[in-house]
């Protein structure tokens, strides 16, 4: 999780990722930010993120992103 928070901070350091639960719905991260986040996540956690994962519910909070990563690692 710490590694994830580090990557997220690098994308936008002005967001409190530990408490924020509306990263997408609240417009804090746009689709361009998400698309630059994906290669970072794929490299750091050895996963493959497909277009079907690109839904707000997977990216609305650090916790949601983490649970998507964990799920993809298990697959």
């Amino acid at each position: 999780m710490e590694k994830l928070l580090e990557i997220l901070k690098d994308i936008n350091p002005n967001i409190d990722y530990e408490t924020e639960t509306r990263l997408i719905d609240g417009g804090l991260l746009d689709s361009f930010s998400i698309l630059s986040l994906i290669p970072e996540l794929e490299d750091a956690f050895e996963i493959e993120i497909t277009p079907v994962e690109l839904i707000p519910v997977n990216f609305n909070s650090a916790k949601a992103i983490w649970s998507m990563i964990s799920r993809l690692q298990e697959e």
Binding site: I11, S31, F32, S33, L35, S36, I38, P39, E42, I49, T50, P51, V52, L54
Partner: protein, 533 residues
């Protein structure tokens, strides 16, 4: 037969509603499917065979994808020998390759039909032009095929069905009838909207009984669609046809007026048709996705495309933008751009490739002409520039202490966006790119203020009375738009009125459509514009 015809409103739709209600529940989807094929046949005749082939193709390829995935799951869950992590990876890679092959085969079938039927004339013609330039003795034979109605819409639905199965978003359906109805449901055939299997197939096949609220709300929505189509769009068509059919006869303010009124015509025509579609669906208890959300209130070109033809934008985002963005090449480009040019350009450079794909597809989807390709590139460039300069605009606004959330700033942004839209639609409506360029240039070379006062605008097919009717109707559309923007449901409000007031109001709208509808003698019959795409 079209949605705004007497045959559809007073015969076809009531007969289908009645038959649907009278048969047992499990036969209702069959009534809808039969009605859909009758509707299709009434417009495109034997070309129905293309729709049937598309449906059968996605049915079997969907099942093939599903079978292949099951085979992989079985092998993964019950391996013959003990597997190492590398074996598992290899199995997954082999399965992914196989399924990707099946998916591309399925998409290939759908796209080849669309490309051959819709684009062979355009691409063949352009290749021949090039061959003539190099004095080639050989030219490609010219083919022009008759287009089945709705091919641009149902092909995208077919592709989304296969891709969604591939990504395990939905299961392949072994019920061919359900899939056939998803592809052919008659209210969707002419102008969409482009639905997803997960959105409509279930409720379409449910065979819900007709309910008073659904039928009355649906009829009101159909009436609203007819209001927009018959009173606004078909009336404006007179002026639009006059100017765009003889573009070299007009210049300056006349071209500006024609471009603005064409934009309103297109909106009233397309959104009016979508109202009829959604209203018809509602009568059968089927929820069809919205395709418009007050597009003229947008503050940027990209916001406009999130509010106009929403289902096409969403389709292009899900099936073009994301897949291109997630290719290895684009991801690597993003990483290297980020390292070289920093965060902002590291986002812009890779996404511009995906955006380019989206806008070329958007332009080409609309039609086969260079003006449509120009239309797509026009929006690509504007949206890209907006993204590139966003940080600079933000910095300038902060240093000049401009509040970007203020009413004045928002109003200026809306005006800027309207100018972008009107200009885009000028090229979109022009016969070809050259004509569009000439018309755009003549705005400046032939600009005279006295066009507004010398009565020449009243010689373009619309009388002063027509202009007044259009103006009042547009004010009504604007008012409804403002209420919808505030999330006020007008139909719920009407439902709360007493019976006399409610029916008095509805009859007034019906009478208005009958009296002020632009049909019959003196008007040019206007086709549904998007049905031609």
């Amino acid at each position: 037969m079209t949605y705004n015809s007497i045959l559809y409103i007073f015969l076809f739709l009531p007969v289908v509603l009645l038959s649907y209600q009278l048969v047992p529940k499990h036969h209702r989807p069959k009534v809808l499917l039969l009605a859909s094929y009758v509707f299709f046949y009434s417009i495109s005749g034997k070309l129905l065979v293309y729709l049937l082939f598309s449906t059968l193709a996605i049915h079997y390829i969907g099942l093939w994808l599903s079978y292949s995935r099951k085979e992989y799951s079985d092998r993964k869950e019950h391996p013959v020998n003990e597997q190492t992590a590398d074996d598992k990876k290899a199995l997954k890679a082999a399965y992914t390759r196989k399924n990707r092959g099946i998916l591309w085969f399925g998409i290939g079938i759908q796209l080849s039909m669309l490309l051959i039927l819709k684009y062979s004339d355009f691409f063949g013609g352009n290749i021949n032009q090039l061959l003539k330039l190099v004095s080639s003795p050989v030219l490609l034979p010219a083919f022009k095929f008759a287009l089945p109605i709705g091919i641009s819409f149902y092909t995208l639905q077919a592709i989304s069905y296969l891709v969604d199965i591939y990504y395990q978003k939905i299961e392949a359906d072994d019920n061919l009838g359900k899939l056939a109805l998803y592809m052919a449901f008659f209210p969707l055939l002419m102008e969409g909207p482009i639905c997803r299997y997960s959105q409509t197939a279930g409720t379409l096949y449910e065979g819900k009984p007709l309910e008073y609220k659904n039928v009355t709300f649906g009829m009101q929505r159909v009436l609203w669609g007819l209001f927009k189509k018959l009173i606004i769009a078909d009336r404006l068509n007179m002026l639009v046809v006059t100017v765009f059919d003889k573009p070299d006869h007009y210049s300056g303010i006349t071209i500006i007026v024609a471009a603005i009124l064409y934009t309103f015509q297109l909106y009233a025509d397309f959104s009016g048709c979508i109202d009829i579609t959604i209203g018809t669906g509602e009568m059968f208890g089927v929820t069809i996705p919205e395709n418009f959300k007050q597009p003229f209130f947008s503050k940027s070109a990209s916001e406009f495309w999130r509010r106009w033809h929403i289902t096409l934008g969403a389709w292009l985002k899900d099936y073009i933008f994301y897949p291109i963005s997630l290719t290895k090449f684009v991801k690597n480009l993003g990483k290297s751009s980020r390292a070289k040019y920093g965060k902002h350009m590291g986002q812009i450079i890779p996404s511009s490739i995906a955006l380019f794909g989206v806008w070329i597809c958007n332009g080409l989807w609309h039609g086969t002409g260079w003006n449509y390709i120009f239309f797509g590139i026009y929006y690509f460039v504007l949206i890209l520039l907006g993204n590139i300069f966003e940080p600079l605009i933000q910095t300038v606004a902060e240093s000049l202490k401009i509040n970007r959330n203020s009413g004045i700033y928002s109003a200026l942004q809306t005006v800027k966006t309207l100018l972008i839209i009107f200009t885009g639609e000028l090229f979109f409506r022009a016969d070809d790119l050259g004509t569009g360029m000439r018309m755009f240039g003549s705005i400046f070379t032939g600009f005279h203020f006295n066009t507004l006062t010398n009565g020449s605008l009243l010689k373009l097919g619309l009388s002063l009375g027509d202009f007044i009717v259009v103006l009042f109707s547009l004010i009504i559309v604007l008012t409804v738009g403002i209420l919808h923007e505030r999330e006020i449901s007008i139909r719920e409000k009407i439902a709360g009125w007493n019976i006399a007031l409610r029916w008095g109001f509805l009859y007034t709208v019906i009478v208005l459509v009958i009296i002020f509808g632009a049909y019959g003698g003196g008007y040019i019959p206007a086709k549904l514009i998007y049905a031609g795409f």
